[in-house]
């Protein structure tokens, strides 16, 4: 028999918090990173086939989309690493207080941006 009672609204109405936002971003960047690592493998394999392939990829990285992919990749990995460090502390039993977790959450968000800028350095000037 089909239940006639409705299901109460959930994700449609629930407020986002720093921690829930980072949790979902952590998953999304995780999936993106797997795709990126696979692509990097293909890239390396492509280079083995000769210089024309190298130029092909190089030309792609010169475009706006290519540059976006590079910055995005660095940010995605930065975010994943910092968020993973936060998770390690959690697994050790530290940082569960609301205040602490909010602060570490903000550190992850801003830290990932800073790390992206530091890693790319001068190359960031598009």
């Amino acid at each position: 028999m089909k239940d006639k009672n409705p299901l109460s609204p959930h994700i449609q109405i629930y407020n986002w918090h720093i921690s829930s936002l980072i949790s979902i971003s952590h998953r999304i960047t995780g999936i993106i990173n797997i795709v990126i690592i696979t692509l990097i493998c293909f890239w390396v394999a492509l280079l083995l086939l000769g210089s024309s392939n190298y130029e092909l990829v190089q030309n792609f990285f010169e475009t706006f989309i290519g540059k976006f992919v590079i910055v995005g990749t660095v940010w995605s990995f930065s975010f994943q690493i910092l968020s993973e460090i936060r998770h390690i502390f959690w697994d050790l039993g530290f940082g569960f207080e609301l205040k602490t977790s909010n602060i570490t959450g903000l550190l992850v968000i801003f830290g990932s941006l800073v790390l992206t800028i530091v890693i790319l350095g001068k190359n960031l000037v598009l």
């Binding site: 009672n5 409705p6 299901l7 109460s8 609204p9 994700i11 629930y14 407020n15 829930s20």
Partner: protein, 257 residues
């Protein structure tokens, strides 16, 4: 499974608008989720204009005022009105909490009140918590002890007793469990923060003799490890407890034992 959209019969529609009749100048709009099982209709949001000059401070007072003076058909659970029983747990302004302890002054703009998220609605703001109670029973929330020496007190050191602080205060209002996305998607299998906090309360009790069995029972991919530290539970708890930490403590005990 993850299902972001609500089923067809759960889509919320616009409801009725109750205009203020008192002529008060201090008016707030209150949007309340309504569903009447006697009609075949979808749930709706009714809007009430409430005279705030004659309304006590908490959201529960607001609901009582609406029920007494504007629309007596509205249904919600409440009992103690002092944050002890946990009956009036609901979703207020996008966050789970107890209506009786939440001041409406803290809410900006219109006040939105929904039942606890992702539950089978019985009527209006009343959600069906049967699954949660069954899960609670499954952790056998009572002291297991072999001694039958009934003349003697079962003593506990101050240090051991202090391990129960932050756990025994839980009133099982379900604010945490119904705030947890993991519990939304896997509520039938994952135990959820409320029940896991209770499980930990018995695991860590120095007088209990069943610790190993309790840990073994809870060590399950779905029952326990669906917790991904989203922290919505700790954010929601109206008693200021930390279910996320309790769950992490169980995980840690399992990893180190």
């Amino acid at each position: 499974m993850v299902q972001i959209n609500l089923p067809k019969n759960s889509k919320v529609q616009k409801g009725e608008y109750y205009k203020d009749k008192t002529g008060s100048k201090n008016i707030r709009k209150v949007n309340i989720y309504r569903w009447d099982p006697s009609t075949g209709k979808n749930p709706r949001i009714d809007t009430y204009e409430v005279d705030m000059d004659n309304c006590p401070s908490k959201v529960l007072d607001l609901l009582n005022k609406i029920k007494n003076e504007i629309d007596s058909s509205i249904a919600y659970r409440r009992s103690c009105a002092h944050g002890v029983c946990g009956s009036c747990a609901m979703n207020i302004d996008g966050k789970n909490g107890l209506a009786c302890t939440k001041p409406h002054k803290e809410i900006k703009g219109d006040i939105n009140i929904y039942p606890l998220p992702h539950l089978r609605v019985e009527k209006d703001l009343i959600g069906d918590l049967n699954i949660l109670y069954k899960q609670y029973a499954s952790v056998e929330p009572w002291l297991k002890i072999s001694k039958k020496d009934e003349d003697k007190e079962n003593l506990q050191s101050i240090e051991d007793r202090s391990k129960l602080d932050g756990l025994y205060e839980c009133i099982m209002c379900a604010c945490c469990s119904t705030s947890c996305p993991s519990y939304w998607w896997n509520g039938d299998k994952y135990l959820g923060p409320a029940v896991l906090l209770q499980a930990y309360r018995w695991i860590i009790d120095s007088r209990d003799e069943d610790r190993k069995e309790r840990l073994k029972k809870v060590a399950d991919e779905l029952k326990l490890y669906r917790c991904h530290t989203i922290m919505n539970c700790t954010n929601a708890c109206p008693k200021g407890l930390n279910p996320a930490k309790a769950i992490a403590s169980i995980k840690k005990m399992l990893a180190t034992s």
